[in-house]
Amino acid sequence: MASVVTNDMSIVIGGDAGQGVESSGAGFCLSFARAGLHVFGMQDYHSRIRGGHNFYQIRLSEKPRLSHSNPVHLLIALTPETVRLHLDQLAEGAAVVLPERFEIDPAPLEKRGVRVDTLPLIRMAEEHGNRVMANTAALGAAAGITEFPLQFMESVIRDNFAAKGQQTVDTNLKVAEAAYGLARDRYGAEFRYKLRPVDGAPRRMLMNGNQALAMGALAGGCRFVSAYPMTPATSIFEWLSGLPREYGVVTKHAEDEIAAADMAIGASFAGARGMTATSGGGFCLMVEALGLAAMTEVPMVIVLAQRGGPSNGLPTRTEQSDLLFAINASHGESPRIVTAPGTVEECFEAGWRAFNLAEKYQCPVVVMTDSFLASTLRTLDMDAIDFSSVSIDRGSTLTPQELGGLTNGYKRFEFTETGVSPRALPGQHPAAVYSAVSDEHDEEGHFLEEIEGRRRMMQKRMRKLREAEREMRPPKRYGPPEAETTLVCWGSSFGPCKEAADEINDAGGSANVLQFGDLWPLPEEVTAAALSECRRTVTVEQNYTSQLAKLLRMTTGIKVDGTLNKYDGRPFAPEEIVAGLGKEVVSGYAA
Amino acid sequence: MPQMGGQKEGTLDYGQFLSEVQANGSFTSREETEGAVASVLMAMAEVLPREQLQALATRLPPEVMVFLRRSGSEPDPLFDSHLFLGWVVSSVDATGGRDETTGGLDMTASYSGPEAIRRAQCVFSALKKRIEPDHQQVLADLLPEDVNGWFLNA
């Protein structure tokens, strides 16, 4: 028999929407996390309430992982269709756990060396409670086959079902235990992929990008959030809305995204740290507001969690196709900052840093994430989220002392060397009374159309962009400095790129990663230098038109050597990147 | 209540009153003249106390009484020169043809302020001929700031 592989596998749970795949999958992830394993839990679901195939792909490891991977070693199928859909992902020696009564064609599975472990999951569920517990039975069975101690699953069952009452908890526990025992006894011995708790592993958190970003915003002093529900940004808003009231976060589910954006501006105008979160379609409605914030120099933080476009596109799927939109949106020319965290930890930092940037440069800051980064669960060490590292920097916002020194004639839009004017907040001091008009204006904020005044005010606003550029971080390099191939990426592609580079290097090849975080204003010189140091550059992006490649060329004049494009709504898997490197398209549209 | 001066030569013909105003203002038509008279008198009706309106009515042709009539409430103490002009401007044509550049109608509203003042003064001057100087002063004192100046200088 082939050797046993411990704590290094991928599991897929699949079923129809409405079968509870999401919560089962998340619960499963948590049980592994509690056992000290590193977890990478990726969801894939249709934008339907019921029907359509959904699945959770969970990668388990003793090392931190930034990507899912194929092949898959254990498939828990809640529908026959699940088997058919994931067949090609299954490794030799993989197992499929499925309930009795499912009619599937065993031949293709046998051909791939995959075992089918049928269990009376539905009967067990019905015996103990009701049919919906087939999920719990399936998870119990999965734990049994991998001989993963049941107690971890049990702790998650207790927590998850507590709200539904002790009886529900007990029944689920019984079902899980029964399935566990049956699966282990029947199939455990032959299944070579095992999961064990990791001795001495520290306690960890299991978190996704949205949660981390929300925490960062909270720690950064955000106490006003207005939003309109839109996948995949909704959970940021819901998380902040669900906080204990003592934190004092005022949230408003607005009537539409126009109101959501305008409310964030209104709150910021009054001196709060206000934020809104949306996806591409909602961002479309916020375009005019962006211009207002920039013109009246009001700080504004917008989280843009990208999803498949255009139009209503692929609501529950991932993409990175709004980069150029986010940079250019709104008519006319005005300053803004665009930044894209690439990992869950980076989302936390982006959450609070965005507010500092917004107040410092008194302009909109767009934090770009995507469905993949927003919703994928990852294990993090407790200190990966460090609240004491958070700083609240209000830039030129006038302190009470400075306000006290104001005399009449305060100019909200005073010309300064950096372009940033001292900012008084309304209602704080009798001398700080001012107009802010959204037409072109003078230093006092009144309407102005004169040539010289207009030129100077435009220069003032755009000067802030040059100032901000100095603070924008250079791209980060991961991997050996002199590699044959550099994977150039931004946002959530970083994880799969990093894993791909590791794979290439481990196999004797030569690759590194150049990750862009701050995208606008793009720090031109350091970017050009970083690119010039590379031997062969390939952008890896989840879009059709190679937007990062275009941005790099537009700002530095440097054309990358190739682009790898994926626009099918599913995140890059490291092996896809590796395979694609041989075939990547020369800069331009994907084949 | 201030004393009225002695009776002048009875109420004059409405036609004569209008002709005078028309001549004062070089208005091109009777309608325009009537518009000016109506709007100025209605504006005065907004701001003068009832007794003054009645006194004024006795000095003017009966046809203008309809403009001096005001329903219900007391004059608004905040009624100022802007509002006064608002009533008069309604009779001033302030729009030109279509504005093919920025849309809507082209407008000559820059002129409507001074034009409204001019019209008001045309009517004031015809009015003043029919009332005693100290009656004129009484009225001026009751008119809003700036309007009193226009009246006295008419």
């Binding site: 958190m205 006003f224 | 209605m42 309604s90």
Partner: protein, 295 residues
């Protein structure tokens, strides 16, 4: 005990671009007087507007002024109030801004009841863009964009406000600035969304609804035996237009609770005050317990 202020405190030296005789002058005057009478100082008030002739009003006052996007002052003002409930927040914008492009925010504000005062400069026309018809133009009104006469029924802000749950609905007439100032003051004092729809002649472009046209029709509800807490009566009055137009408070809910007073997160401080506290004393340890949720 309120100390009345001198309305001149609100005077500004900005060049006013309104046409001579514009009804907005009266609204400006009335707003200054209302604020002064209530003892509200310029720095304590925030006047938010959209785009239009009337929306320039805040810039013509010595007060915190924010002239925003067409149709959008209501959400901006609502959030400013939530962020700093100490501010007296007033919205001044036109009928197109409020009832057309801003219509959704108008309806939502009626049911939301934020504590702000909404003064609508209703001249039944688009002035700034020089003479197109507006949501409140009467059916049949001929303009450059309604050459055969407006086809739609005029928007009725009072009945819509009533239907949407507004707790203070009133109408004023620019030709009666003192009466208007009284309504504005009542609106400011009202605990919730106060609508003051001001019938305001556009002396340049609207030659139908002139001062005289209104004078012939307006009457004061206060002069009749009218009970503003009577919703059915309010509905009837809201539909009076052709021959008689009621002025005054049409409908008022006594003891209404403003939106902000129902936001639990505001109980311990406002977003602005809490941020001030955090700057002084960040206390990062207050968030540590949140990590437990992820274990």
């Amino acid at each position: 005990m309120v100390t009345r202020l001198d309305p001149k405190l609100f005077d500004a030296t900005t060049d006013i671009t309104w046409c001579a005789g514009c009804g907005d002058f009266a609204i400006l005057k009335a707003l200054k007087l209302a604020l002064a009478d209530l003892g509200i100082e310029p720095y304590q008030a925030l006047v938010v507007s959209g785009i239009g002739c009337g929306s320039k009003l805040p810039d013509y006052m010595n007060v915190n002024a924010y002239l925003t996007n067409h149709g959008r002052p209501l959400p901006i003002a609502t959030a400013a109030k939530l962020a700093n409930p100490d501010l007296h927040v007033i919205v001044t914008n036109g009928d197109g801004d409020s009832y057309g492009i801003g219509g959704n925010h108008f309806v939502q504000s009626c049911r939301r009841n934020p504590n702000l005062t909404h003064i609508v400069e209703n001249n039944q026309i688009y002035g700034l863009t020089k003479g197109q018809y507006s949501p409140t133009s009467d059916k049949g009104f001929v303009t450059t964009t309604s050459p055969d006469g407006a086809i739609e029924l005029a928007f009725n802000p009072l009945s819509v406000a009533l239907g949407a749950g507004a707790t203070f609905i009133s109408r004023a007439f620019a030709g009666e600035p003192k009466h208007m100032a009284g309504l504005i003051a009542q609106g400011i004092q009202h605990q919730g969304y106060a609508l003051i729809d001001v019938l305001q002649p556009c002396v340049t472009f609207n030659r139908t609804n002139t001062y005289d046209w209104y004078r012939k029709r307006v009457y004061h509800l206060e002069d009749e035996d009218y009970d503003p807490s009577d919703r059915k009566a309010a509905w009837e009055k809201a539909h009076e237009w052709e021959e008689r137009i009621p002025l005054g408070v049409l409908y008022r809910v006594e003891g209404a609770t403003a939106y902000e007073d129902q936001v639990k997160a505001l109980e311990g401080g406002s977003p602005v005050s809490r941020l001030d506290d955090l700057v002084k004393d960040p206390r990062p340890q207050q968030y540590e317990r949140l990590k437990e949720r992820f274990t």
